[in-house]
């Protein structure tokens, strides 16, 4: 346990030192505050609009940016240490492989969680202070949003570690991470839409929403949309609305999506040669 904490502590420290924490905080808070204030600009006015539309539009932006940040943060977690020579060195210390890997994930997970909390939390505070939304609904809505965003970040950190533990070069890890982001964030949804259009909507209606659970970014969107079910939805999310997943079951699926790559990364890292 102590070893895991030592590694995690060092990773978090590293994140502060190389300005990762600061830059993620700034990006997320600018995004969140900007959206909260200028979200209705298209409708010809500025100022805070309704809580639900703010969160839903925040979620649809966060779904792009959070996986990207998480992958960039963690893609060199294993392969970078290997190239530095520190992986070999660490393996001569009284520390097992899973402890090292878990420690690194916990540390970078903390970087992600802290930055998400500060970045999006700042927008919640702004909204609470300057709009007429009451604090209670604000906190619960932002609570669900921030928690799911953190989980989404963790899922992609774990995916980044699967990539990092499988390859032998940093540049390869970066390339695969980019493809991975592209697939989960863009291609998957297009594929599902293509499936719908191609079959002229002739797919099993009860089965189809469950296909969305195969993609953690879609689960993240569902979490936030299901919380504000009164929104007018377009695209894939409208389909899922018919099948009401509970928020809890969606969080459960995100957790499953976290455990899966974490265990895969462990197995792959254990087999990695030195």
């Amino acid at each position: 346990m102590n070893a895991i904490l030592s590694v995690a502590n060092k990773e978090f420290h590293d994140g502060l030192r190389n300005r990762w924490v600061l830059s993620i905080c700034i990006i997320l808070s600018v995004l969140a505050i900007g959206l909260a204030y200028f979200g209705a600009a298209a409708a010809g006015k500025v100022g805070f609009t309704s809580l639900s539309s703010t969160i839903v539009s925040l979620a649809s932006l966060a779904v792009f940016i959070i996986p990207l940040i998480a992958l960039m943060l963690a893609y060199d977690g294993v392969v970078g240490e290997d190239e530095n020579g520190t992986l070999l060195l660490l393996m001569t210390y009284p520390l097992s492989r899973w402890q090292l890997l878990l420690g690194k994930m916990v540390g970078q997970g903390a970087v992600m969680a802290f930055s998400t909390l500060v970045g999006f939390g700042s927008s919640a505070v702004m909204m609470g202070l300057f709009s007429d939304t009451d604090w209670q609904s604000l906190l619960s809505a932002y609570g669900v949003f921030i928690l799911s965003a953190i989980l989404l970040g963790w899922v992609f950190i774990a995916i980044a570690y699967v990539i990092s533990a499988s390859v032998s070069e940093k540049s390869k890890a970066a390339g695969i991470a980019l493809i991975c982001w592209f697939v989960f964030v863009l291609v998957f949804d297009l594929g599902l839409l293509g499936l719908l259009v191609g079959t002229q909507g002739n797919v099993d209606e009860t089965l189809f929403p469950y296909l969305l659970l195969l993609n953690p970014t879609d689960i993240f969107r569902l979490v936030n949309i299901s919380w504000f079910a009164d929104q007018n939805l377009t695209g894939l999310m409208a389909i899922a609305q018919q099948t009401q997943f509970t928020t809890l079951s969606l969080f459960g699926s995100l957790l499953a999506w976290l455990l899966l790559p974490v265990s895969a990364a462990m197995v792959i890292f254990n087999r990695r040669g030195l």
């Binding site: 030592s6 060092k10 530095n84 520190t86 070999l88 009284p94």
Partner: protein, 302 residues
């Protein structure tokens, strides 16, 4: 007490033999020099001893246990290792890096500043590693290897990038550790000046053991001549020595088998016209080159 024991240890990587059956015994307080060209099997041997890889056949035991077993992990506290080309974490300071490794090894953090001062990084301890030169990184690596007063120290190319003074300091430190009962394996292509500090040398070439023993034993086995450098314009040597005399840019040289060294020395010292005489014994480098050349072909070891 046997610290390291290798019995017929062999390592094959994907069908390619990296190390052919090797026997090695290392007792407490011994300093072993492990020499060989690139790819000779030095690093493989080190990794086997560290338990980072398992032997294909044969038995490795370190402190009496198999180092690859997970329950032997606690033994690593007694171990210090420095590998070639480690660059550490650029964003952290030297002190922070050392403290990180100290925590992982279960060594008190308070020893870190002192250790850094010992390796000559006292002034740079608060600077980030990215500003360090190659030599400074090497010193940081040494400090890391010395954490927690290890009982077995494995050093791969430890003096690369160190200036002569730092190299001297390093060897003195090895001497001190040896006196405290620490066992040391120094691994290298040939290190000039290392002869005085090693008890035994082991020369590897293309995964095979070429020679093993103390320096005196190796000298005898290799049967390399001592070289006499002679000075004196009016010097004429009696037969049969005159025939063996070689002229080179830096004077006249005489290659003498070690067994005849004293007899010839007495003969020479009586000669008129001899102004100066230097005797050069075959160095570790000569012995190393001899073994590599004779057993791996003339191109090896370059």
């Amino acid at each position: 007490m046997k610290i390291v024991e290798l019995q017929q240890v062999e390592k094959v990587y994907q069908g390619v033999p990296a190390l052919q059956p090797l026997d090695l015994e290392l007792h407490q307080g011994e300093v072993l020099g492990l020499f060989g060209h690139n790819g000779a099997g030095k690093t493989t041997t080190i990794k086997l001893i560290l338990g980072l890889i398992g032997a294909t056949t044969g038995k490795v035991s370190v402190f009496g246990e198999d180092p690859t077993r997970s329950d032997a992990r606690h033994l690593r506290r007694k171990l210090g290792f420095l590998q070639e080309n480690v660059s550490f974490y650029d964003q952290l300071t030297g002190l922070e890096v050392l403290q990180y490794f100290a925590r992982l090894k279960g060594v008190a953090k308070q020893t870190c500043p002192e250790l850094l001062a010992q390796v000559g990084l006292g002034d740079a301890s608060k600077r980030r590693v990215k500003t360090y030169s190659k030599g400074m990184r090497q010193r940081l690596g040494l400090a890391q290897a010395l954490l927690g007063e290890p009982e077995l120290l494995l050093l791969d190319e430890p003096t690369v990038g160190l200036d002569p003074i730092a190299t001297q300091d390093f060897y003195h430190r090895i001497e001190q550790l040896k006196q405290q009962g620490c066992t040391v394996i120094l691994c290298s292509h040939v290190l000039p000046g290392v002869e005085k500090y090693i008890d035994r040398a082991l020369i590897l070439g293309q995964g095979q053991l070429l020679a093993q023993g103390s320096l005196a034993e190796l000298r005898q086995q290799a049967n390399l001549p001592a070289t006499f450098h002679l000075q004196g314009d009016a010097l004429t040597l009696p037969e049969p020595l005159a025939a063996r005399l070689q002229h080179s840019a830096n004077g006249r040289q005489l290659a003498v088998p070690l067994a005849e060294k004293m007899a010839i020395l007495q003969q020479l010292s009586g000669l008129a016209g001899l102004e100066d005489l230097d005797i050069q014994l075959p160095s570790l480098e000569d012995i190393y080159t001899y073994y590599i050349r004779t057993q791996c072909g003339p191109e090896a070891g370059q």
